[in-house]
Symmetry: C2
Subunit: 142 residues, 2 copies
DNA sequence: CCGAATCCAATCTGATACTG
DNA sequence: CAGTATCAGATTGGATTCGG
């Protein structure tokens, strides 16, 4: 995926002029979409962003709250998100040093379209699950 | 037979707050978000959905239009999307058989939140790129 | 407490060749 | 034309261990 519409009137992909997309799509080069989807499409980014969206968290807090993430992936994902300017890292020089993460303005702005997608997922999860079952049954009914 | 989805009322509350999310997140088990993000987070799904969103395409058309996708990945991604009920596969029994793919009602409903995300990516791509450069420079200023 | 480094298994992707 | 099969390389994610 790749470029898209002018970005404001995006609500009608199928009725209006998705025509414009295609042209940008096919040229994979500097696809901005890929950049984003690849980042939030990994295993933990969306979850971390969502959690940080509620309030800032310290490293240990995040770890406890997600709890099935390995320390390695938490560190790495936080780093990547920070690199993209979506979250901010603030070192607090206490005795045992602590580090606080929070979403930046840019990160907050992402949270909104992201929540739409999440909302969609929630509303349609049952439908998807059903479709999967039907498909799997019809393929391997044996 | 398939969707029968309403598929129209997806323009959910803009920012009803990530508050409610967290609880559902932390229990990873049947997290609906993962299901969706994992699917569209792969390398080709969003692109294919977007292209099919403009109009139905035949297999070969898709292949030519995307052109840097391998036949293997095109087949596989289409299959996965079909499995989730997002696209429909219609075999046309012509002499050399042809197969047409199109987005279902469910797929169309996904296109909307998806395009929001894409729009966000476009609007902020420069900002992200800049953030990355700054980060990379500060890390390896050598 | 926070995070970097190493090792390793699992998954994903592409190239190529083959079938109906 | 559409799809499958197999193999090799790249990426990802987890466990463990060490350091500031």
């Amino acid at each position: 995926m790749k470029g898209t519409t002018p970005a404001e009137a995006d609500a009608s992909p199928s009725t209006e002029g998705p025509r414009a997309w295609k042209e940008k799509f096919v040229s994979i080069e500097d696809c901005p979409i890929r950049t984003v989807i690849n980042q939030i499409g990994d295993k933990w980014s969306v979850l971390i962003l969502a959690v940080l969206g509620t309030r800032p968290h310290r490293f240990g807090e995040l770890r406890r709250e997600i709890d099935d993430i390995s320390q390695r992936m938490l560190t790495q994902t936080l780093r990547d998100l920070q690199r993209d300017g979506l979250i901010a890292r603030r070192v607090i020089p206490t005795v045992p040093p602590s580090v606080e993460y929070s979403v930046t303005a840019l990160g907050k702005s992402l949270l909104e379209p992201m929540s739409r997608l999440i909302g969609w997922a929630e509303r349609h999860q049952a439908e998807i699950k059903l479709a999967r079952q039907r498909f799997d049954d019809s393929v391997a009914p044996e």
